[in-house]
């Protein structure tokens, strides 16, 4: 069987690239961390890979706004290639800063549109916060969403968040309705029992507690929490997980590798 190849895109200020690499490797993939300068020099290189990952970090220091300078660079220097890649149906994931980039480039919520129509803004608390939260993966959404990344997750899963700008705001009501209608809102912050949380378990004030969304086709997934930081039970605050060894974050990466 051919090894699945993953590209972890990095640039100045990317800092979750190693653990993202490890998470994919744990699921049997071959991973390369590639600097954006290399990719800009050789644009077609992107198509050598089966999966594209935008890891977390502070790209270019998150100056101006989080992910802004990197998304500007991608849009202007790699726009055509990235769009083509996205429309080809290959899996793309954006975690934390990567999610901010996907949204600001316009790959989410719709790569067809390829325009920024929603945003991730400053947390209501106006500060960076690192903590574990509960996320709801609604049964109905799990069954009906096209999202290839969130299959096989339990209804409530816990993951760590670590961000200062994670408040998801859709551009207008219509977009929000569409996201809901198409089952694109795959992860929402919640309480352990699935009910609506308040701060701090609602860490940033996101509209409708949105923590992660996918595109209509389900191959592109962006989320603020960090699944790559929960691939082993050891990483969980209370050492929970499955098969007495793995953390639930691993399932997300496994889904994409299996899909390919």
């Amino acid at each position: 069987m051919k090894k699945v190849k993953v590209l972890v895109l990095r640039t100045a200020g990317t800092n979750c690239d190693y653990e993202t690499q490890s998470a994919f490797e744990l699921c049997g993939a071959t991973v390369e961390r590639v600097h954006i300068n290399t990719l800009i020099e050789k644009k077609d290189k992107i198509f050598e890979y089966d999966i594209l990952a935008f890891p977390g970090g502070f790209s270019y220091g998150d100056d101006i706004a989080s992910g802004k300078i990197l998304s500007n660079e991608i849009k202007n220097k790699l726009g055509d290639e990235v769009k083509k890649y996205a429309l080809s149906g290959r899996p793309i994931i954006g975690i934390c800063n990567g999610f901010q980039v996907l949204v600001k480039v316009g790959l989410l919520p719709s790569p067809e549109l390829f325009k920024q129509i929603s945003t991730l803004s400053y947390n209501d608390s106006d500060k960076f916060e690192c903590r574990w939260v509960y996320l709801k993966v609604e049964k109905k959404i799990k069954n009906e969403s096209n999202c290839i990344w969130t299959r096989n997750l339990p209804d409530i899963v816990s993951l760590p968040v670590a961000h200062g700008e994670g408040k998801f705001i859709p551009g207008n009501e219509k977009f929000l309705d569409e996201l809901n209608k198409n089952n694109q809102i795959v992860l929402r912050y919640s309480l352990r029992d699935g009910s609506e949380p308040e701060y701090p378990l609602a860490p940033n004030g996101s509209v409708e507690q949105i923590a992660g969304i996918c595109n209509g086709k389900g191959n592109i997934f962006g989320l603020m929490p960090h699944p790559e930081r929960y691939v082993f039970t050891l990483q969980h605050p209370a050492k929970e997980g499955f098969d007495s060894k793995y953390g639930w974050g691993k399932v997300i990466f496994k889904n994409a590798v299996d899909f390919v």
Binding site: A12, N15, N37, G57, G61, R192, P237
Partner: protein, 814 residues
């Protein structure tokens, strides 16, 4: 030697003593008269006056910050105890105490001790772990955000610059501040309010550490009005390095490559400035702002060049800038540097400013000429500036060139070994400690005291700080700074554990980081403060599963002026404790740093800080599965206290809250403690311990409460079952009638742990603990009631764990 309009000659050959002193002061050189005279006679031999850049170079190289003149100088020490005076002369205090212990212990797994930018111990057969802790106090007082950010940036560069470069895995931070609730009118003019300092410092560490992608995982914070004008900011970094990358050796002919940030006027005189006490007119150019993304890019690229073996040596530009970095690398060979090649932020810098600027994010490499193109290519591929500015020679001289003119030419030998050893005098009077009048309290008063202790600034939750740091980036923080049995609640972890699985594939080993400090003890007894800090750091690590046989420690002294006999005397006392404890616990020191002159004068009145010794500990744990957190796990399990409770309330949080003057400061009993720590390691390795928590500030009452509320559980404790020594006599009594329940609950005796055991494991556990002092003191309850009871004294304290949690959580919640 030629002087241009940009480089002046400084006439010193003909100056008298008074003029020499004036010159040193005017140019912020921080050189003593004796030192100025040595310089004068050196240039008399050369038959010429020095240039400004030569004088500045000497001042940087000889600065307290770079040379640690006080602690490596001669100290004539007098100690007085009960009217009897004893004298001792130290020729080199550090070498004869802290360092001596490490030499005598001679642990084979210590790979680099006190010689490089950080200490290194063995991780596994192929790798070592490096650890360094630095202070950045004075810059943080002036510009809290920039000061702490460049503090953390600097210590990260120490790790990048150890050996051929280590990969940073975690940061630590420890702060001492004034009371953040201080009335605005009580803050002296020219001083930022403690709350502003604290917020600025925390933001600085947050923004730099988070952007570097290094989790800040361990720390401590201490509030005392003594730090209002002079806050203390300690930053540490731990990194991992292949064993074959630990040695560096510059060879003649290697090129000098400066990499990273450009040079500006920032931080001129930082090194000499740190030995001057703060006053209202402190030199403003000593303030710097960092750019973490440049440093991150340097990190990403330099490790690539390291793994291709493209350079022979590296060091960071810290205090003293290029002057110190190149001076250090070229000490054995000599170097010539073309200062006009250094990339600048803006025009208008004089050569001496370029040479000593402390602009951030710069590293200096020694690169063999054949590799230079490849190295520069690696840096430039990721937009990192790398410029060759000179070469290492074989003439053992430092030569500086600007616009084709030689503007400095001095012997390396003189620069590095020419500094005269100062002689200082020190005095310490041993004060007798007295047990306080028995603290008699009823249940209600004990209950209220417990609440005030949990809410006290020095005990309360530091969640506001911890959560602003991305303490989980890299995904390797398996024992976290805040620990809870679920996501909703948390308590204070004793130590952090990093499991470096993304760097070392398939490893089972992990690294533990902890710290100990207690300036309150130091106010009464600096020896016990130092000893307690060492024990506390080890205890914290042991509580999560560390093996003290695989641990090392770092010392960081922050003291007042060494010109004050008694201040220096207390420092000597503390270093004595360092030697004694290091030897007794068989835990070596591997690195250290000191920051003296932490004083501030307003209206002629001098304020000195309460002295602090921070001990940072690092250890390697064999199996990451065998680590333990502090929250209680299961109702019905048994609670034990390990170790002896003594009547030791001196310097405790309880005596501060209750205004109790007397009290014996907690002592350290290494024989008991070391044995206990080794036994706990065995028990944890056999999976016999469900939860473990170190007993320190606030004593048993606070420790037990924290374990309960972080688990959302209750507990019932029988005070009468706690084993005590009534006084300091070596006679053990099981009868605890000589300590009151309040004293037992709040005493801060060292050497104690609270643990949770499954009833099934009790027998095996007791077997391991055989011969040590321990007792079963209660059990865990599912009903969330936290109860402390003494039938003998008719005491029953009861609180809900939720209420205790909120008391602990709400003090710092901005």
């Amino acid at each position: 030697m030629k002087c241009t309009s940009k480089c002046k000659t400084i006439r010193i050959l003909s100056l008298c003593d008074e003029q020499l002193i004036r010159l040193s002061r005017k140019n912020v050189l921080s050189l003593s008269l004796e030192e100025m005279k040595v310089i004068q006679s050196y240039f008399k031999k050369l038959k010429r006056d020095p240039t400004d850049i030569e004088i500045e170079t000497i001042a940087q190289t000889w600065s307290e910050h770079c040379k640690h003149k006080t602690l490596t100088g001669i100290i004539e020490y007098t100690e007085e105890e009960s009217g009897k005076k004893t004298k001792k002369t130290y020729n080199n205090l550090l070498k004869e105490t802290v360092f001596k212990a490490s030499v005598e212990l001679n642990k084979p797994w210590c790979l680099s001790v006190f010689k490089d930018n950080a200490g290194i111990i063995e991780f596994d057969s192929e790798n070592g772990v490096a650890f360094k802790v630095e202070t950045h106090n004075h810059p943080s007082a002036l510009e809290p955000y920039g000061g702490s950010a460049t503090g953390i940036g600097g210590v990260i560069r120490d790790i990048l610059g150890v050996g051929l470069g280590a990969k940073p895995l975690a940061n630590t931070d420890v702060f001492c501040f004034g009371d953040p609730d201080m009335e605005v009118s009580k803050v002296p003019e020219g001083v930022h309010h403690p709350k502003r300092i604290m917020r600025g410092v925390v933001s600085g560490v947050r923004d730099y550490g988070n952007r570097m992608g290094i989790p800040t995982v361990n720390g401590a914070i201490c509030f005392d009005d003594g730090y209002m004008s002079n806050p203390l900011v300690y930053c540490g970094t731990m990194g991992i390095i292949p064993k074959n990358k630990i040695d560096k050796k510059v060879e003649s002919g290697d090129l000098v490559l400066v990499v990273g940030g450009k040079t500006g006027r920032d931080g001129i005189h930082g090194a000499t400035f740190s030995s001057i006490q703060l006053d209202k007119e402190s030199d403003v150019s000593a303030v710097q702002i960092g750019n973490p993304i440049i440093e991150k890019k340097v990190l990403d690229t330099m490790l690539k060049a390291r793994d291709l073996n493209l350079y022979r040596a590296v060091t960071d530009c810290g205090a003293g800038g290029l002057s110190s970095a190149i001076g250090e690398l070229g000490e054995k060979t000599g170097a010539v540097v073309y200062l006009d090649k250094v990339p600048l932020k803006y025009d208008g810098l004089c050569p001496w400013e370029i040479w000593i600027s402390e602009a951030q994010e710069r590293m200096v490499f020694a690169v063999p000429p054949k590799n230079i193109d490849k190295v520069i290519e690696i840096f430039e591929e990721e937009d990192v500036e790398a410029v060759c500015i000179g070469e290492f020679t074989d003439d053992k001289k430092l030569t500086l060139v600007y616009d084709n003119d030689v503007i400095a030419s001095m012997d390396m030998e003189f620069l590095h070994n020419g500094v005269p050893k100062p002689t200082r005098r020190a005095f310490y009077k041993v004060k007798k400690e007295k047990v306080q009048k028995p603290v008699k309290m009823n249940s209600f008063e004990i209950s209220n005291s417990l609440i005030s202790l949990l809410a006290d600034l020095n005990v309360c939750s530091k969640e506001w700080i911890v959560r602003q740091y991305d303490h989980e980036v890299q995904g390797q923080t398996v024992i976290k700074p805040l620990q809870g049995c679920n996501i909703e609640v948390s308590g204070p972890g004793d130590a952090a554990v990093i499991f470096p699985y993304t760097v070392i594939k398939d490893t089972k080993k992990c690294i533990v980081l902890s710290n100990g400090l207690n300036p309150q003890y130091g106010k009464k007894n600096p020896y016990k403060m130092a000893a307690s800090a060492i024990e506390e750091s080890l205890r914290n690590a042991v509580a999560v599963g560390a093996d003290i046989r695989k641990m090392a420690i770092l010392d960081n002294f922050c003291w007042g002026s060494p010109n004050d006999l008694e201040v220096l005397g207390s420092l000597v006392r503390a270093t004595k404790a360092c030697y004694d404890m290091s030897k007794a616990f068989e835990v070596p020191f591997i690195s250290g740093k000191d920051s003296l002159h932490n004083e501030y004068s307003i209206n002629e009145k001098k304020y000195s800080i309460p002295p602090v010794l921070l001990i940072s500990a690092i250890g390697v744990i064999e199996n990451v599965e065998n680590t333990v957190t502090m929250p209680f796990k299961k109702g019905g399990n048994k609670v034990f206290v390990l170790g002896v409770t003594r009547n030791e309330l001196g310097g405790s949080v309880f005596s501060k809250v209750k205004n109790i003057e007397d009290g014996v400061v907690p002592g350290v009993y290494p024989r008991e403690s070391k044995d206990m720590m080794e036994k706990i390691y065995s028990a944890i390795s056999e999976n016999l311990i469900e939860a473990c928590h170190d007993c320190s500030e606030g004593g048993i009452a606070v420790a037990v409460s924290e374990m309960a509320f972080s688990a959302n559980k209750g507990v019932k404790i029988d005070i009468d079952a706690i084993k005590i020594y009534s006084c300091l006599e070596e006679e053990f009594r099981s009868d605890n009638s000589e300590m009151t329940p309040a004293e037992i609950l709040f005493s801060e005796s060292n050497g104690r742990f609270i643990i949770e055991i499954k009833p099934d494991n009790e027998e095996k556990f007791k077997k391991i603990l055989d011969g040590s002092v321990f007792s079963e003191i209660g059990y865990i309850r599912d009903d969330k009631k936290v109860i402390f009871e003494s039938r003998k004294n008719n005491i029953r304290v009861q609180q809900s764990s939720e209420f205790l949690l909120n008391s602990w959580r709400n003090t710092i919640n901005w």
